[in-house]
Symmetry: none
Subunit: 419 residues, 2 copies
């Protein structure tokens, strides 16, 4: 079934409130196997609202509205829906009784306009509001449904979960399943190019790619009669995707790369430390974002200046003088010293120019990452990586360097032995 979400509320059009209702309902409808074709937002204007309902019904079988169910004069959703369905509003006795009871219990005076909240289209079913006063409802005409929900997110979500979910589940016979695959080290356009044979002419499962900061995600979605059929359709497609870009996949469960690294370190009982120059603590910050990071990350050094690389870490000034501070040699030396000093099993380092300006003849975006660990015989090993982004964007250079550091550790982790 195809669906549209129609939110009524001037506070959305003024930009005072973010439309989290549409996001929530979309997610829930997806789980139920609906295709959501539209979100619309409109103010307290009956003719625009009516027009949008008409437009929704050109493509969709289900329209879910939020907002405009309250007692005040500009709450017009019910009137407009009744008109659009060629119906009229009548009092629902049960709602009227429970509303009167509510006002008595809360020692509040019921005003005339509160009565409005017990009016509903004559054909349909009332949904109880467990956490507020305005009930919702569903109404139907010629196989098209409108479900009207209150605007306050908590009332809307509670009603959706308690009343709408069971109502709609009964009416669907396809089940959706999807996987979000996260990749690193491959751009969106290249990703799409190599996956094109799978994407092209796709019907089910579908494949969509999304660019994120410094990485790309792929969503593989199937909608079949049973959850098992959907799952195995996605799994079959995953086999093909892994064949093509397997080396770039770091999670098939929509995890952050830092989460994956912390888990892998925990599994191997390895401890990591870091020595950061241009990222200035962001790597440590990213790793310690993950709950439970204290099991694998015990300490780090923000060696932003040359003297701190020498004094705090013990990097040999002669190496800096010989190769310059932005060099693979210094990056590796920083990692070795961090390994020694911290007593951890592996250490990662970074030195470079974040920008926005070049520094002397070193361009912004030239960043060396170093890593140091012990092999199975206890020998200290190192590697390095150069990111020469050419970018003058300080934020991106720093964030992308952190991702590159995490990726470097992740890819070398199987070579690391416990101290």
């Amino acid at each position: 079934m195809k669906a549209a979400i129609l939110c009524v509320g001037t506070e959305l059009l003024f930009g005072q409130t973010v439309n989290t209702n549409a996001t929530y309902i979309s997610r829930q409808l997806q789980l139920l196997g609906f295709d959501v074709l539209y979100h619309h937002v409109v103010g307290d204007n009956p003719s625009r609202l009516e027009r949008l309902i008409e437009i929704c019904f050109e493509d969709c079988d289900l329209v879910i509205t939020t907002g405009g169910l309250g007692p005040t004069e500009d709450d017009l959703t019910k009137e407009v829906i009744a008109k659009a369905l060629g119906d009229e509003l009548v009092y629902d006795e049960a709602s009227l009784a429970s509303m009167k009871k509510y006002f008595v219990e809360t020692h509040r005076k019921m005003t005339e306009n509160n009565l409005k909240q017990a009016l509903f289209p004559s054909r349909g079913k009332v949904f109880k509001n467990a956490v507020g006063t305005a009930p919702g409802f569903v109404s139907e005409k010629d196989g098209k449904y409108i479900i009207a929900l209150p605007g306050p997110p908590r009332e809307m979500m509670t009603m959706f979960d308690n009343e709408v979910m069971p109502y709609l589940s009964e009416r669907e016979n396809a089940v959706l399943y999807y996987k979000i695959v996260r990749t690193y080290g491959i751009g969106e356009s290249i990703l799409e190019t190599v996956l094109m044979p799978l994407i092209h002419g796709q019907t089910d499962p579908t494949i969509a790619t999304y660019a994120k900061e410094g990485e790309c995600s792929i969503r593989v979605t199937s909608k079949r009669e049973t959850i098992d059929e959907s799952k195995s359709a996605v799994e079959e497609m995953m086999v093909k995707i892994r064949e093509i870009i397997g080396e770039h996949i770091y999670s098939e469960d929509d995890e952050e790369m830092a989460e994956v690294l912390v888990r892998e370190l925990r599994e191997r009982k390895l401890q990591l430390s870091s020595a950061e120059s241009c990222t200035g603590g962001l790597f440590a910050g990213k790793i310690t974002d993950v709950p439970g990071a204290s099991n694998v990350y015990r300490r780090g050094y923000v060696t932003y200046s040359i003297e701190s690389k020498v004094e705090d870490l013990g990097v040999d000034q002669a190496i800096i003088d010989k190769y310059s501070v932005v060099s693979s040699e210094v990056a590796k030396e920083m990692a070795i010293k961090a390994l020694e000093k911290s007593g951890s099993d592996l250490a990662v380092s970074v030195t470079g120019i974040a920008g926005p300006s070049d520094e002397g003849d070193v361009p912004a975006g030239r960043i060396f990452m170093g890593m140091s660990w012990r092999d199975i015989d206890g020998r200290v090993k190192t590697t390095f990586k150069l990111m020469d982004s050419g970018r003058h964007d300080r934020r991106k250079n720093r964030e992308y360097a952190v991702l590159a550091m995490i990726d470097m550790v992740r890819k070398n982790i199987q070579n690391c032995s416990k101290k």
Copy 2:
């Protein structure tokens, strides 16, 4: 003028992403004096997109789209807009050249589909993308405008502020001027309450408050015939605002608190270092986000574990044993040791439970911040601050602690002497 916002993106319809773009654009259009009548969201479907453009133009003079400007096959916004305006797409030589330059500079391979990003409707004006690859544009037909912006929020916002604001302002007869005032340490509802006498019945200038992560902003806007008139109206209002909440204002120029702190440290030629436990490098990361931070921040310690507090900083184990690691005493001791060890003029520290879980009898969100500096006679001084948030939200606890640390340093800075 009446406007509609039309966002293209399946990730919105899937409920993966909240539509913050529509909120941002609504707010900005309001400042410019536009009435926003609709938000629409549609997927990568050309016929639905075209239909919505038609519908928008029934009521509106301006349609702003976001998304679908990228290089991949499902990025169709430009094609559809050209068709809707009876126009065709042609290559923009300047965009083509700058794109080629970007790919050379960033050492990336330009694929065939990237060329698409240099195609634009033949009638119109290209908007530069300062922080990404896909430019935007405005195109016009019979007094109706379409402005197309990229989907990633940062790119969209930057383009809106740098390109769209000036473009639309020119078309209005009034000149808009606004100030964004940033405050810390006062909640949005209290802020609104104390400013209510100024907000109530406002016509020009207008005052709007916005809650951000851990802080609040106030936007004061005036739109008069000349820029001088708008400016002095805003300035007059600022005098009143400063009288009421002056102590909470840390910037009248929409700066980050870290920016303000780095500037103040530079002006006083003071050097800062840090010793972080539960924020795990985020404070250092925040300070070094600011270009030129290397003048005031030379080094820091991520002392995530107890042994690193003792071994790397030199905190006395006895103090930890006596007061426990999450205590004002340990926070102050960490700051004193960081001051000694780093040779800087002031040092800040943090120790606490970020969450999500409590640890033993210490609740998540209990975080002590310490600070150490030398007074005019060279005596070492300390102070501390407790944030007992009661929150189990790890991210918020960490980010709010970083803000509280910056605020603590900023408020004590006038007591600090150079070593």
